[in-house]
């Protein structure tokens, strides 16, 4: 396999101006991950500041209803309310070690922007967050949170005015400010070495979950489920289970249904293409133009997916499914009522798959769902969709 490739996927499809920054990032990353001082400081931030480890919660009510043993990996309890902080603390600390004085980031649902704003505040680095104009409206609360945390939010009015355009805008900023700025990419997408860096920083989810389930059940789970937009929470929980006899399921945004064409399921319904620096699966037309996507969950509303997921799809190691908006909204309400846990609409896609798959599971089967974020940010949106009745 070529460096920076996952099977045939990945690579570095970027303008020449960015290459020096990617090379510098790769070299720094190789150096930093071996540096005991870096590990010590990251470990401090993860445990003393962010609240790791997060619980692996046995869901008694849901287990009884579904007829199997359901656990939730509680990334919703991480500081900031989502798994995103694992990566932002890691990369912000790296930026410090690289001597960069400014962080930029893109955000879709706002969770990565909030997590970057938190990491920037904690590590005393100024933060600018690019966010599609459409998303600034549907995630207004997160815009306010970012601003409260001292970040500047830049609405992006180009293209479809969503996550992909926010990434384009952040890349343009980075090209112009390479010398003092680190682009803190929020998912396992983009050019090498980003997919690997993000996967490594998110793998703490799977490492903990694997240890916790062994302590609790004395064996590995049968199935691990996670939602997939760019795919960072999924790769984070899957990666430590790669060599185990565990079924791994990634759940994409089915939107109005795959047959409607209005969805964000690049692995289930896309084709191979180059997008934002990497070769992966992509929702594109016959000429190679990225298509508009749709999901009730802003964080899954993206036409492409991390290149490692593309490889894992082809190899069959991970099964990729889709859950529709309606299924996710149903799961959102069901988990809230049965367990008192409001999931992010993104994570609700993973819960929705679990509800669907439970019929095929025995009562002793163990299912771990990565609850990648909490749903407070979505409450107003869901209330609007349903006239205030949950």
């Amino acid at each position: 396999m070529k460096a920076g490739r996952y099977g045939i996927y990945g690579g570095q499809y970027v303008p020449e101006t960015l290459m020096s920054a990617l090379i510098e990032l790769e070299e720094t990353y190789e150096r930093v991950r071996e540096n005991p001082e870096f590990s010590r400081r990251l470990s401090w931030y993860l445990h003393e500041y962010a609240g790791r480890e997060t619980p692996l919660t046995y869901c008694g009510n849901l287990s009884r209803d579904l007829g199997c043993r359901v656990y939730l990996k509680r990334e919703d309890l991480l500081h900031g309310g989502a798994h995103k902080l694992n990566n932002t603390l890691g990369q912000a600390l790296m930026a410090k070690f690289m001597g960069k004085h400014r962080l930029i980031a893109e955000t879709g649902a706002g969770q990565h922007g909030v997590a970057t704003a938190i990491a920037g505040a904690a590590l005393d680095l100024p933060v600018e967050v690019y966010m599609g104009e459409v998303d600034t409206r549907r995630q207004a609360l997160n815009v306010f949170r970012m601003e409260l945390l001292g970040a500047r939010v830049v609405p992006v009015a180009s293209g479809t005015r969503t996550l992909k355009d926010a990434i384009n805008a952040a890349m343009r900023d980075w090209v112009a400010n390479l010398r003092d700025t680190h682009y803190l990419l929020g998912s396992c997408v983009g050019p090498h070495p980003f997919p690997r860096i993000v996967r490594d920083f998110q793998s703490v989810i799977g490492e903990e979950a694997r240890r916790q389930i062994l302590e609790r059940e004395g064996r590995l789970p049968d199935t691990v489920v996670a939602c997939v937009g760019g795919g960072s929470n999924a790769i984070g929980i899957f990666y430590p289970f790669s060599n185990d006899d565990v079924t791994l399921v990634g759940v994409e945004a089915g939107g109005d249904g795959l047959e409607s064409g209005r969805h964000g399921a690049s692995l289930s319904a896309g084709s191979v293409g180059v997008f934002q620096g990497a070769l992966s699966y992509l929702l594109q037309d016959g000429d190679g133009q990225a298509l508009e996507t749709h999901s009730v969950a802003a964080g899954l509303d993206h036409p492409s997916v991390g290149p490692e997921h593309a490889m894992l799809k082809d190899s069959g190691r991970v099964h990729y499914e889709a859950a529709t908006d309606a299924e996710a909204l149903h799961a959102f309400r069901r988990l809230s009522r049965t367990e008192g846990i409001i999931p992010a609409l993104e994570s609700a896609h993973a819960v929705a798959y679990a509800l669907r798959a439970a019929d095929d599971l025995d009562k002793d089967d163990i299912l771990v769902i990565n609850l990648s974020g909490r749903g407070d940010k979505d409450v107003a949106d869901v209330a609007n969709l349903h006239g205030g009745v949950a």
Binding site: Q12, E16, N168, L178
Partner: protein, 278 residues
């Protein structure tokens, strides 16, 4: 000798204009190209419109959006190149594209169609030398020059690696950033031109940010063999969307003014002669 090599052998420095195929419309785009050529563009870069042009600033991005809204497809781009080729048989033409357009079509088909339409070179803005093996054999097979990019951030070792792939001319990026007009160009251009000049005999053209006659003059003074102007011309299209005649006049006037920067102390009759020859 290829059209590109022939141009640089005959003329030094040269003026390179950029337009997005299909901007402001598929038919109108041919009129824009024709005006640019008639006004004195020595080499024309024709961009294939793309949904996510990350190397471009807002002016050129909006041109991509206009072209896509007008329904421009790669087929339309090749048809446009064919018409330009008929209009200006000797004019060197370079297709400027993002890689997914080529990937989706398949590099064999893309380069064969580009050659058949009459393109002389292809510049793939998001395909650094690390990934260029995917297209190199096809460019060679169909006799298309592969125009490579060198940035101010490109290390001397990378410059050498990149130049191994190069043909036609070398595109030097003047600044750290995306395309778009700037008040002034960064001071390092002469250094970049000099450093690359030591490593290749190919002509060197400078682009990104070049938007005023004095910029053209400073690029030429830095020792470049060509200047590339994009956003400053594309902006004129945007400013005159509802008045085609004014658009063409603005483009022609701007190109004549920018071309003046090619000559240190231009004499009026010399400029007139050049314009007729162009």
């Amino acid at each position: 000798m290829s059209r590109i090599a022939g141009l640089f052998a005959r003329k030094n420095p040269v003026f390179i204009g950029f337009t997005v195929a299909g901007d402001p419309g598929i038919e109108a785009s041919f009129g824009v190209a024709k005006t640019m050529i008639d006004a004195g563009v020595d080499l024309l870069e024709v961009a294939v419109p793309y949904s996510d042009p990350v190397a471009d600033g807002p002016v050129i991005e909006r041109a991509h959006v206009r072209a896509l809204r007008a329904g421009t497809t790669p087929d339309d781009v090749f048809a446009l190149v064919r018409r330009i080729r008929e209009h200006a048989p000797a004019l060197p033409l370079v297709l400027f594209t993002y890689h997914n357009i080529i990937h989706r079509r398949g590099p064999d088909r893309f380069f064969s169609e580009a050659a058949a339409a009459g393109a002389d070179g292809v510049l793939i803005v998001d395909l650094p030398s690390e990934e260029s093996g995917e297209v190199a054999p096809y460019a060679a097979r169909y006799g298309i020059d592969r125009i490579v990019l060198i940035a101010p951030t490109t290390s001397p070792e990378r410059q050498r690696t990149i130049l191994k792939d190069a043909s036609g001319f070398v595109y030097l990026i003047s600044l750290e950033g995306v395309t778009g007009e700037r008040d002034r160009l960064p001071p390092g251009i002469a250094g970049l031109v000099g450093a690359v000049r030591e490593k290749t005999d190919l002509p060197l053209a400078v682009g990104f940010g070049v938007s005023r006659p004095e910029h053209v003059r400073s690029v030429v003074a830095a020792g470049a063999n060509g200047v590339i102007v994009g956003s400053a011309l594309v902006r004129l299209i945007e400013e005159h969307l509802d008045d085609g005649a004014a658009m063409h006049e603005a483009l022609a006037t701007a190109i004549v003014a920018l071309r003046r920067g090619l000559v240190p102390n231009p004499e009026p009759d010399m400029l007139r002669r050049e314009r007729v020859e162009g």
